[in-house]
């Protein structure tokens, strides 16, 4: 039924547009507040915090895709994973830019000193550097070129997310609630990938209800 396929594709495209707007909205909101000088008494701190939090939230959303697909059987979810991951990287870039430009004003001696000396900054910067190759190899072309190695490489999202949460936790002064919530969610999402937890779900839960689309990309980006 080619007609149904076309409708389905169009729905996927519209949903993609919706996910794109949702992913972009916190950035637009921060930009709007900054433009109107409504980020409070310490705008640099507010921007740094906002972009950092959205990086973590989107990393968690990216990591939630595979377990969600397993639980629901909706393979289509995988179609949105790259966009979520790239948005996480987008906010990570804004976060690092806030630090380099607005906070430190390109003072590379101070920054190097800071990053080497302060464990929370070491963790955060490492997490960012781990995300760079993932963003760079997110295209379909790179997927095809790297083949099986692509999957291995993209497992770097696990240490990146862990270091990101640790970075958030270590910079807190007293209120660690939000960081602990992220840590808990991350632990849950990682635990759902453990083989002995997955197999009972797969066996009992949700057998594939329809033949999977044999799209090159879908089979290539199947989660590790």
């Amino acid at each position: 039924m080619p007609g149904a396929r076309a409708v389905e594709d169009r729905v996927i495209v519209w949903l993609k547009a919706a996910v794109f707007l949702v992913g972009l909205s916190p950035g637009l909101w921060l930009f709007w507040l900054g433009w109107r000088d409504e980020l409070g008494a310490n705008p640099v701190e507010a921007l740094s915090r906002g972009t950092g939090e959205w990086t973590l939230r989107l990393l968690l959303a990216t990591l939630a895709v595979s377990p969600m697909r397993r639980l629901t059987g909706w393979t289509v979810l995988l179609r949105y994973r790259r966009m979520l991951g790239l948005f996480a990287f987008f906010y990570a870039c804004l976060h690092v830019l806030t630090y380099v430009v607005l906070d430190q004003w390109f003072d590379e001696t101070a920054m190097l000193d800071d990053i080497v000396k302060r464990p929370y900054l070491t963790a955060g910067m490492t997490a960012f550097l781990l995300l760079v190759p993932l963003a760079a190899t997110s295209t379909r072309g790179m997927m095809l070129r790297l083949g099986r190695r692509w999957r291995a490489l993209h497992r770097l999202i696990y240490p990146a997310a862990m270091l990101g949460v640790v970075h958030f936790l270590w910079q807190a002064k007293i209120d660690t609630t939000e960081a602990l919530v992220y840590a808990l969610l991350l632990a849950l999402l990682l635990a759902m990938r453990l083989p002995w937890l997955i197999s009972p779900v797969l066996a009992g839960g949700c057998p594939p209800t329809r033949p999977e689309r044999t799209h090159q990309s879908v089979s290539a980006i199947r989660s590790p």
Binding site: G40, N42, V44, K173, I174, D175
Partner: protein, 319 residues
């Protein structure tokens, strides 16, 4: 005809009058609160207007900095006052529940005339003056604040500290009803601070009762707040209810929580870094987006006045 009365509504179920009369705001605040929960931000809410009454007949005090004061809105909306929440916007939004009248300060310990003194007697008994001081927070930001107050030493002398009084210990009010942040054990309550007696008697050390020529807003530590401009802001304890002269160095809140991060002295010092960040630079609040950080000075720039208190002391050890 007798009309039988309906089941009585328990008073606890009656909407308080202020909620009803203020229902639009109540709804707006609650929905924004929900949004805030979702996004982790409550930027949309503007805090209630808390401007205090003008304090008449203020003198310009000595030691005032010639720097431009930080805008009133920033001084009163960017506060660390964990008793009202951990976020810096919390105190301005939530400190309305603090009742600053009546207020009694208890002074006791190693002194000849221990006793209680009411806020009215304090306000009328000491000459209030304006002092524009720099405030440097341990988190590497700073403000310039036109305080109103009087030297702490003037107050302490009235109680006749004895030769055994080597230190002064301060305590904030403890009342989770008025201070919702105290319902969580984020810090050990009440907040306590301390100074060496010579630091406490130093003419720079102030008891603040106001700022910008007006009564102190609750979020800034009303009605009595310590101001020690050469030390990190957390030493300047807020909403003080007790002062005690002691022989031994008293415990202090942040030192108890993280001794390697926060010392008893907590003098501003660019050469002693906080384990998690540098203290070499600070950001001036209120200067906006594109301002550069400034160099932090030893004793927050008050070395001429207070450097002598620490001659011969290893400031890296006694941080």
């Amino acid at each position: 005809m007798l009309i039988r009365s309906h089941k009585k509504i328990p008073s606890s179920e009656i909407t308080p009058r202020w909620v009803w009369e203020d229902r639009r705001h109540f709804l707006a605040y609650s929905s924004v609160g929900l949004l805030g929960l979702a996004s982790g931000a409550v930027w949309g809410v503007s805090p209630p207007d808390t401007r205090g009454a003008r304090i008449p007949g203020l003198l310009k005090g000595q030691f005032s900095s010639g720097e431009l004061p930080t805008p009133y809105e920033d001084v009163t909306r960017y506060n660390n006052f964990v008793e009202f929440g951990a976020d810096k916007r919390d105190p301005a939004l939530r400190a309305g529940s603090l009742r600053t009248r009546p207020w009694t300060l208890r002074v006791e310990g190693e002194c000849e005339k221990p006793g209680d003194i009411g806020i009215e007697d304090i306000l009328s008994g000491f000459t209030q003056e304006e002092r524009i001081y720099r405030l440097r927070c341990v988190e590497a930001w700073a403000m310039v604040i036109p305080w109103v107050g009087f030297p702490l030493g003037d107050l302490l002398k009235r109680f006749g500290p004895t030769a055994k009084a080597k230190y002064v210990a301060f305590e904030t009010l403890q009342d989770p009803e008025q201070m919702p942040g105290q319902r969580r054990a984020s810090l050990r309550w009440p907040y306590v601070e301390g100074l060496r007696i010579d630091e406490a008697m130093h003419p720079l050390t102030l008891i603040a009762t106001g700022l910008y020529g007006e009564e102190l807003p609750n979020q800034n530590g009303a009605p009595l707040r310590l101001v020690v401009p050469w030390k990190y802001g957390f030493k300047s304890i807020k909403s003080i209810v007790s002062i005690r002269f002691t022989q031994n160095q008293p415990a202090t809140t942040w030192n108890r929580l993280q001794p390697e991060e926060y010392g008893f002295y907590a003098n501003v010092n660019p050469d002693v870094e906080h384990p998690r960040w540098s203290q070499r630079y600070h950001r001036m609040i209120g200067e906006g987006w594109l301002s550069r950080k400034r160099k932090t000075e030893l004793f927050n720039g008050y070395t001429d006045e207070v450097g002598g208190l620490y001659s011969g002391m290893d400031l890296k050890r006694f941080y």
